[in-house]
């Protein structure tokens, strides 16, 4: 094996293992965030306080996000020129950056401010909707990577 060879390309199983790790970890990360957002929208777990739900799941979210980013970087390293020139991948990265930033700033502050038993205000529900849209956009961006032509165009 040459110095420039990527070990992930040489192994039959390594890439699929990291791909599955990527999928499972983003499922947990996005799922735990979405659970809090659905609570904010009144669609799930109405008796749980949103702030408590967030505090109970935040470690899961953080660990899963770290695993997602780490496995994603390893997968990116196998064909960096393909991903770098892929408009869907760039869209995914932009949405991921926005989603993580939004989650740990505005979203966190708004969710923790909700008191148990009190009505969720429209502004807080809007924050939950924005959070959901950003995270689902990351998923869409990831799926469309393989379906767009290389090069920075929308075909």
């Amino acid at each position: 094996m040459n110095m420039g060879d990527n070990p992930l390309d040489a192994s039959l199983l390594l890439f699929p293992i990291f791909e599955v790790t990527h999928i499972v970890s983003f499922a947990i990360a996005i799922g735990t965030v979405a659970l809090v957002d659905f609570r904010m929208l009144g669609l799930a777990m109405p008796r749980q306080a949103p702030g408590k739900l967030m505090r109970d799941t935040r470690l899961w979210t953080l660990i899963a996000l770290c695993a997602t980013v780490f496995s994603g970087l390893l997968m990116y390293s196998t064909e960096p020129e393909k991903y770098y020139l892929n408009v869907s991948f760039l869209f995914k990265l932009a949405c991921l950056f926005l989603a993580i930033t939004f989650h740990y700033t505005v979203h966190r502050r708004v969710v923790l401010a909700q008191r148990s038993g009190s009505r969720i205000e429209a502004g807080a529900k809007l924050v939950a909707c924005v959070s959901l849209v950003l995270w689902v956009s990351v998923v869409f961006g990831g799926i469309f990577i393989e379906f767009v032509r290389p090069g920075l165009s929308f075909n």
């Binding site: 990527n6 992930l8 390309d9 040489a10 192994s11 039959l12 890439f15 699929p16 791909e19 599955v20 999928i23 499972v24 983003f26 499922a27 947990i28 990360a29 996005i30 799922g31 735990t32 979405a34 659970l35 659905f38 669609l43 799930a44 777990m45 008796r47 749980q48 109970d56 799941t57 899961w60 997968m75 196998t78 064909e79 689902v136 998923v139 869409f140 990831g142 799926i143 469309f144 393989e146 379906f147």
Partner: protein, 202 residues
């Protein structure tokens, strides 16, 4: 008979319309993964609580009961998207070994639900104990996590298998009349699976 059923399904009006749309498959796949994310997180939280690995500051019923209907809704949404994805290329999926493994795992999960729902998932208040959750609850949680993880692995594995060139959908959709398809020209005897990241199908 199953193959005939798959061919009939993929040729129904709805499935043909979805298959011939510009981005129907990609949109459905993205929605499928989004619903899997929500559903998967709830499965992970419920079963790791049964194992005593997470959310131990909350009682078992405080974790399991509120997630019951959201889990069912998430599963229905993910399964609906999955069925539509299957129907678009039913013959390809029928011939795909990883899809068959995924179906077998779903049947095993259904058996797991029949066995453990009456005594574990439907009676979380009876699982509270000073020494933690009972052994049967831990077994139920552990098996559920392994099975669902297997479903994710098998689902991802589907994309690593190329459809055989003789499949109806493949030759009908990919080949231009009067010309050999790019795939058939380049790969007259395609292997069943490719190795390495650069050769992965999708």
């Amino acid at each position: 008979m199953l193959l005939d059923l798959a061919l009939w399904l993929q040729n129904t009006g709805l499935m043909r319309a979805l298959r011939e749309s510009d981005h129907g498959y990609e949109i459905l796949l993205s929605l499928h993964l989004s619903f899997i994310s929500l559903f998967g997180a709830m499965i992970a939280l419920t079963n790791t609580r049964l194992l005593g690995w997470a959310l131990t500051q909350d009682s078992v019923s405080e974790v399991v009961d509120p997630l019951r209907w959201p889990k069912r809704a998430g599963f229905v949404c993910a399964a609906t998207c999955g069925f539509l994805l299957f129907g678009m290329k039913a013959e390809e999926y029928y011939l795909n070994v990883f899809f068959r493994i995924k179906v077998m795992l779903f049947l095993t999960i259904a058996t797991h639900a029949l066995v453990f729902r009456p005594s574990v998932y439907n009676k979380p208040s009876e699982l509270e104990g000073a020494s933690g959750t009972p052994l049967r609850a831990k077994i139920a949680g552990g098996i559920a996590l392994v099975l669902w993880f297997g479903v994710v692995c098998a689902g991802r594995g589907i994309g690593y298998i190329y459809p055989p060139p003789f499949s109806h959908h493949f030759t009908a959709m990919r080949a231009v009349p009067g010309e050999r398809s790019a795939y058939n020209s380049a790969n007259p005897a395609a292997p069943d699976a490719r190795s390495g990241a650069s050769n992965r199908r999708r």
